[in-house]
Symmetry: C2
Subunit: 457 residues, 2 copies
């Protein structure tokens, strides 16, 4: 309502992740009308999803509502809708809404920041058995499974079956995999102490598997080796040179240096592969351009779609100079696109801008409490100093003043103390499992399958 | 494991609410072996469920894991199981578990603290359309519906239909109903400000209906009248002398002082009736004793089951001297039962104890931020002083040191500020609705029905 002006330049942003949100925020006082379209009501602070999945932070702490973040941005309209068509000729985006006819929004400039999802490398049947960690739903599902596994182990009489409940496999030893494995190890050894009578949670076996030679390989040899030692000190069992070739209800099959092996485990986390949102393929078809193997769109040096200078593709959906799919690239490319649009509107130019240059602010990964590794312009830091840098950066970017203080408080209580405040298993999660067991559905398939089905529909 | 001693007196406690939890805690150093059985992994701090349902607190803040609360109680075993049979002759309790054969636990003393659930007064078909507020699942479901209703209103083009999404009906003007209505009004007027473009959330209509003449009638005429004025100042529309005779997807039918009226509204909260857990009827049949109209068991003056001095019934499941179903009665009767057992074990007596005497510590209800009414031994306090007393008492009883500070911090940010940090609508909630709409199921019926079905199975 406020500030609406139909003659203004119309910007449509698809996706409220780091790319889309930072683009919308950058356009705050620009003389444009922005429509931000997302499928959920919240921004997801993906780098901390592992803390939601392991009981440290609540969903509200890492997933603030988009409407709330953007409430002072009078020129932004937030639409809760699921984009399903681009018309590059008519310059419109179409999206399904919960209610009523589809939404069709015309644009003068379009920023597509639809992000990425998991890749199971052609094994989509693994998905319900080994959820990834890209959304709040994923994290809540994993939280229920992880804490639930200890409950099941407590009930199990057969030692072999109990061991299967007490074994956790994290597939993929990038930052997310390392963080998940480290936190599962910590909660089993510290947070759940004295919680059970028949099992000792500290007996939990946490496997971290990867086909590469070292964990966190992108951090370079020295830091990676340091990380490997730190990971093993937390009690995590590192399995490098190991490819997961099959996933079943209660096991994974691994092809490793010594041949094939079947490892019994109920709880699996998929942190191995990433592929672009299906919107990438949709947009590529509409523009008749190429995508790379991960489904990302090969963009021009100014982040635009080839042949369509008015369409920007940013963040994880963009393939440009081999830039990695991390939050920092998404933010910078989102802001870059917004700045380009602002300049064009101000100057009336529609030509090419200066190419997008990524300012590498380094990368970091936490291993366990007070342990992180940081790589920044040749500077390689590990241990506690690395952890302090990690904490500082994450607090800085955590959206919302209060969330920061709550997060800091919870980190202190989880890391100096040992507690996990968010351990709720809902009856919905429990009864989904009961219903599935009664119906003969393989456990682990029931609760996510509904969601996956609907997502694909 | 630690401290297990098979010769010890065995106490079985059914239910980890205020009654059961406080009984277990009281027995900490007693020479008994305690088994606490609950269907969920958490204690639920029911007096603050309305804050979970309206986005102020997270589930972890009000539902700490039972295992965690009792981790230092070496003589307590927590069992996650659903009690379904009492054998008073063999002195055993049987419960279904998620896994394996049913659990059968023998007891020397039994404390049944299974609590209460909603009563729809014979209209169980209202349940999925107008959920109550007794469990974490209820609160999360209502949270999704309340915040989701504003999203739907934003999408709705038809003014009449939009009004239906923007109307909230709370049925029952006891403490829970007053708190829910007050918080929905506050979040619509303060927290959601500037969040939407097409609707003004402050236009939301919040109805609070009750068949009685005044809200919070149990607080006495003067305080009740004061509360009524305070409620109306928050913008809540009070409808007294009004009975809800039908509930549909998008309306309620009310029989009021001026006849029958149909009021369009999508979001309904049931805070009207309470009935004892079905375990009450089960136990009564086993013992061949009477239940009252609400399904509660008429106990002896020492809270024992008639004819069974070794079986205690406490909390909301107990009918004794007309005591109300509030947390304070549950705590005191739970502790009373535990103390009696401890004395018997120490003294070897199995005789009758001194009757249970409830020490009335008063009652309180919040109306809106900084407004509460308190009734304590003839002292009647309202307004801000009442609110301070409310905050003090609730912080005192909120289990767990950290939860208290987090709660205080969130109250300050929600009441001095205006934010609600916990507004996540999960994709599971959204897609349940989409699936239901596609399948032609009436919205509001899909997500709870699974849970209710399973609960009844």
């Amino acid at each position: 309502m406020a500030g609406a002006d139909s003659d203004r330049h119309r910007v449509v942003i698809v996706g409220g992740g780091f790319g889309g949100l930072f683009a919308a925020k950058f356009l705050k006082r620009a003389p444009v009308e922005v429509t931000l379209i997302d499928r959920t009501n919240h921004h997801t602070f993906q780098p901390l999803l592992y803390q939601l999945a392991t009981g440290i932070l609540s969903e509200g702490s890492i997933a603030p509502p988009l409407r709330e973040i953007l409430r002072r941005h009078r020129n932004v309209t937030v639409e809760l809708a699921d984009v399903n068509a681009f018309d590059l000729k008519a310059r419109t985006v179409t999206a399904a809404r919960l209610l009523g006819p589809p939404l069709t929004v015309p644009y003068d400039s379009l920023i597509v920041a639809a992000g990425a999802t998991h890749s199971y490398f052609g094994h989509d049947d693994f998905a319900p058995l080994a959820p990834g960690l890209k959304t709040v739903d994923d994290a809540l599902e994993l939280r229920g499974r992880i804490f639930g596994a200890f409950e099941m182990a407590e009930l199990e009489e057969d030692p072999q079956a109990r061991r299967t409940w007490m074994t956790f496999a994290v597939i993929g030893a990038g930052p997310t995999g390392v963080e998940m494995a480290g936190q599962i190890a910590e909660l089993s050894r510290r947070s759940l102490k004295h919680n059970f009578h028949r099992i000792d949670p500290a007996d939990a076996r946490v496997l971290l598997l990867d086909a590469a030679a070292t964990p966190l390989a992108t951090f370079g040899e020295k830091l990676s080796a340091k990380a490997a030692r730190a990971i093993e000190r937390t009690g995590v069992e590192l399995r490098m040179h190991s490819r997961v070739i099959d996933v079943t209800t209660d096991a994974i099959v691994v092809e490793g240096p010594h041949g094939e092996e079947r490892l019994g485990c109920h709880t699996k986390v998929w942190a191995a592969g990433v592929q672009a949102s299906p919107l990438g393929a949709l947009l590529a078809r509409a523009a008749d351009v190429e995508t790379d193997r991960a489904g990302r769109i090969e963009v021009e040096p100014d982040c635009t779609l080839p042949g369509h200078p008015e369409v920007f593709v940013v963040g994880d959906l963009m393939a440009l100079n081999g830039l990695p799919g991390v939050a920092e690239v998404a933010m910078q490319s989102g802001i870059y696109a917004a700045r380009t649009i602002k300049r064009r509107v101000a100057g009336g130019r529609a030509g090419t801008a200066k190419p997008f240059v990524y300012r590498d602010l380094g990368s970091m990964a936490t291993i366990s409490r007070f342990q992180a590794i940081v790589s920044f312009k040749g500077l390689k830091v590990g241990g506690f100093v690395g952890w302090l840098m990690w904490a500082f950066v994450h607090l800085t970017f955590l959206t919302g003043f209060k969330n920061r203080w709550i997060a800091l408080f919870k980190w202190l209580s989880a890391f100096v103390g040992s507690s996990r405040d968010e351990r709720t298993i809902t009856m919905q999660q429990v009864s989904a499992r009961i219903v599935a067991m009664r119906a003969g559905v393989r456990p682990g398939e029931e609760s996510l399958s509904r969601y996956v089905e609907d997502r694909d529909a």
